[in-house]
């Protein structure tokens, strides 16, 4: 590992421009509600700015950023922040504007909705490990360290999360077919 003095500089602007959407999406996957995600993303980037000099560019930046998102989402859950009572219609319109071209819109939206709904069926501990390992493809050991749990605990949560997620997907898909 490089000492800080030997590390290259990583400008915050570049990190924000390149990875804001990643942090936002990760926070949503980790259970931050749509009405809160902008504020939580902001808070996450304030922390990232404060710690950026400690980032080692020889390591993947997304794995590094993921840890910030993970901790922020954990704090969010602990605080159970619910600052807004109503979700504005703007959110839906804006999200729709981000989706792919017309031909893919329905499929992409359905896939995302299905995954989001299945993730919501997991409790936070399992959800965090599942998102980290299966969507972010981070090693279990690294995830365990980030969460402050043993590797065995993380592996066990992952195993249970996979089973629960699969079950949830089957159930939700079946329900959709019946509509």
């Amino acid at each position: 590992m490089l000492r800080p003095a030997e590390r290259a500089e990583v400008p915050f602007r570049e990190v924000f421009e390149a990875h804001a959407a990643y942090v936002w999406t990760t926070l949503r996957r980790l259970g931050v509600e749509e009405r809160d995600v902008e504020d939580v993303t902001h808070e996450t980037f304030v922390k990232i700015a404060a710690h950026l000099a400690e980032y080692d560019p020889s390591r993947p930046i997304r794995a590094w950023l993921f840890v910030f998102a993970l901790r922020q989402a954990r704090d969010y859950k602990r605080l159970a922040r619910r600052r807004h009572e109503v979700v504005g219609a703007l959110d839906t319109e804006e999200t729709a504007a981000q989706l792919p071209g017309p031909d893919d819109v329905v499929a992409a939206r359905e896939t995302h909705a299905l995954v989001a709904e299945a993730l919501a069926c997991l409790d936070w501990d399992k959800r965090a490990v599942f998102v980290a390992c299966e969507l972010e493809e981070l090693p279990v050991a690294e995830v365990a360290e980030s969460l402050g749990v043993s590797r065995n605990t993380a592996a066990s949560r992952l195993r249970l999360a996979r089973a629960e997620f699969t079950k949830a997907v089957r159930r939700l898909a079946k329900r959709r077919e019946q509509r």
């Binding site: 000492r3 500089e9 936002w24 304030v46 981000q98 995954v115 390992c133």
Partner: protein
């Protein structure tokens, strides 16, 4: 990475499709950029600054952002004690001579008179204005930048001195983790391995989830 996941192929395919999903609205990104603009502009202006210089700017940006957000975010885990509490001395009978510590002439305010009692004299020593949270963090940052710069110049003794000053002024400051990290690094550079490891261990118990801990512990183990 988790190929042996035990997930059925169709579920894995679902996750593969989801992995590329980006949810953030363009307008939200623009709003966030505005909210973070102090940090972003600082970054753009930093040019060829050193890591220390960059960190200084990043922290300053974070400060401004925190202040703009009500000062509750980056600074929330510390209630800043007053640096030098205003000193008020009430004595009777008057007059009283009071010498303020290392200060210009004291301001003498005559207190309201009380019946059947000699008038009291309130002597207030002129003191430095207490730092607000932002100024306090800025002061912390300056001290630690000094330590960091000293390390980069190959002067670990000076780095230790700067961290000593930080510890004296801000024993439980916002940047205490950073102080630990810099002290360990300075001790390592001075070849004081036992102290470095002891300090790293203390840091681990105080800040078990610190982002800096891994590097600090590794540094501490580099010398016998």
């Amino acid at each position: 990475m988790n190929a042996d996941s035990g997930l059925p192929p169709d579920v894995r395919a679902l996750l593969d499709a989801e992995r590329g999903h980006v949810e953030m609205p363009t307008a939200a990104k623009a709003r966030l950029a505005r909210r973070l603009s102090p940090s972003l502009h600082a970054s753009a202006a930093s040019g060829a600054k050193t890591i220390g210089g960059w960190k200084a700017i990043a922290l300053k940006g974070a400060l401004v952002v925190a202040a703009a957000a009500g000062g509750t975010f980056a600074l929330r885990h510390e209630r800043a004690p007053r640096e030098q509490p205003a000193l008020s001395v009430r004595v009777a009978p008057p007059p009283v001579a009071f010498v303020a510590p290392a200060a210009p002439a004291p301001e003498i305010v005559r207190a309201p008179e009380v019946a059947s009692a000699p008038p009291a004299v309130v002597v207030r020593a002129p003191v430095a204005k207490p730092l607000d949270a932002a100024e306090r963090l800025e002061a912390e940052r300056k001290l630690l930048d000094e330590a960091r710069d000293a390390l980069q110049r190959g002067e670990p003794e000076r780095a230790l001195e700067a961290t000593d000053r930080h510890a004296a002024r801000f024993a439980h400051g916002t940047l205490t983790e950073e102080r630990y990290a810099l002290r360990v690094r300075a001790l390592v550079r001075l070849g004081r391995g036992v102290e470095a490891r002891a300090l790293a261990s203390e840091m681990a118990s105080r800040f078990p989830r610190s982002f800096l801990l891994e590097g600090v512990q590794r540094d501490a183990e580099t010398i016998p």
